[in-house]
């Protein structure tokens, strides 16, 4: 048993060396396919995170009734904070609101002076919400006795949500297509390398080798080639991601880039697992038809 294992490894290794061209082609194909897949997954994850930060900006404003005591107001803020879908609550006093308005219109536009002491604006709270739960939050706020009126830019939020969702869906779709393509292309490549050696397989069977005896080294070889290709792809992804995220951080500091050390180990692990499994499976399946002798 141990001898069989040992033989399979030795055979697989020497076969990789003997068939340098086939091995090189397999490794480079696997590496490139997985690198593209990996790059795409990384890009998609980052876009998703970006969409998340956009969604995090969605807010609802509730104007409060006049004459609430500071106590009631702070109770209200606490209550709103507990609502499902609420991320952050901020109290904006009528004075603050007027100052903001003035700023928005230009400090010397005369709004502040014109209004004078008769500030017509109400107190308000700004509530950052989970976009999906916006309606629910709006309703809950409206139902509160302290709240006069709720203002939320529903249409805009709907659009933002739709766009981020569409981007996610598109990313998922492309990723699925890419995954299928990667699978088929790698399987095809391995099938070709096995095909190029079909005569060899045939001879082995005619000399009395069992299917398992032939399959062992072949599958191991496929595994190794897939593994090496995936490791190359992972390394390239690692350095490429580091370089790119450095670039983005320095030139677009406000775009959040997912940190490499958190993201890449799992992506790389996925790629390596995929490469290894595909290499082994591809070999085993392609071999089948040539074993019927």
């Amino acid at each position: 048993m141990i001898r069989m294992w040992w033989r399979a490894w030795a055979e697989a290794l020497s076969s990789i060396r003997r068939n340098a061209l086939l091995s090189g082609v397999s490794v480079s194909t696997v590496a490139l396919c997985l690198l593209v897949l990996g790059a795409f997954v990384l890009a998609a994850l980052n876009l998703q995170a970006l969409a998340g930060t956009v969604e995090a900006q969605v807010e609802v404003r509730a104007f409060l009734k006049d004459g609430l005591s500071p106590q009631r107001t702070s109770q209200l803020v606490t209550a709103v904070q507990e609502l499902a879908g609420v991320r952050e609550v901020k109290f904006v006093s009528r004075g603050e609101a007027l100052r903001r308005l003035g700023e928005q219109l230009g400090k010397d536009s005369g709004v502040l002076e014109a209004v004078g002491d008769s500030n017509p604006l109400p107190d308000a709270i700004e509530v950052k919400v989970e976009p999906r739960l916006m309606d629910q939050v709006t309703e809950a706020l409206s139902a509160m006795s302290e709240v006069d009126r709720v203002l939320g830019r529903r249409e805009l939020v709907g659009r933002i949500l739709a766009v981020t969702q569409a981007m996610k869906a598109l990313g998922l779709g492309l990723a699925a297509l890419l995954a299928v393509a990667t699978l088929v292309v790698i399987a095809n490549t391995i099938r070709l390398t096995v095909f190029a050696r079909r005569a060899e397989v045939r001879i082995m069977k005619l000399v009395g080798a069992t299917d398992g005896f032939i399959r062992g080294p072949f599958v191991l070889e496929g595994m190794m080639l897939g593994f090496v290709g995936a490791v190359v792809a992972s390394a390239a992804a690692w350095y490429g991601y580091g370089w790119l995220s450095g670039l983005v951080r320095s030139s677009l500091p406000f775009i959040p880039v997912l940190p490499r050390d958190q993201l890449l180990p799992s992506v790389a692990l996925g790629l390596v697992a995929l490469g290894t499994v595909l290499g082994a499976l591809g070999s085993a399946i392609s071999l089948r038809r040539f074993l019927r002798v």
């Binding site: 001898r3 033989r7 068939n19 001879i203 069977k205 005619l206 000399v207 009395g208 080798a209």
Partner: protein, 225 residues
Amino acid sequence: MIEMYGVSKVYPGQVVALDDINLRIRGGEFVFLVGPSGAGKSTFVRLVYGEERPTRGLVLVDGRNVGRLRPREIPYLRRRLGVVFQDFKLLNDRTVFENVAFALRVTGASGREIRRRVPAVLSLVGLEDRARARPLELSGGEQQRVSLARAIVTGPSAVLADEPTGNLDPDTSWDIVNLLLRINRAGTTVVMATHAKAIVDRLRMRVVAIENGRIIRDEPRGSYS
């Protein structure tokens, strides 16, 4: 040891290669299979080691029906037979040593056994100094002898040699035939398909002559024609 009852083999395209063959070869026999080009000799051999299945009839090896063997069992049949293929069937990307060793590895032989037996059998066929060459670096006759070495290295209970001297000069041919005779004397059944009239006529062993897929002659101490 090898028996055929009413065996026919029709290849796709209505090519009748063998037609109602009946034959018994007992263990330890030495049989020449002769006949013109395309008579069906190689087909006969292929039926025995199970590369082809008979269209009709029964092929028995050691009493077992080869045509009905399950795919899993065929490798074990082949290990009991040593086959010298007419077209050699060597693994071109391995050395001569590895080609011969392969037949042993298949059986799970140990590295020690391989290192002992392969050089011994290579020197039997006169190739001890070409062990590290690859098949495509050998002459035709050398390749043929590698195929023979691989066939006998496992000590099979029968050797099926399909024109094992076709690419050999008369002297070397005699060396090879003598080797087969020696193995035969040690108890191995030998079936040798051949065109070497001089050898067949000199040895006077059992001769089975095939023509157009039929046995036209089967003599215990026969000659080529």
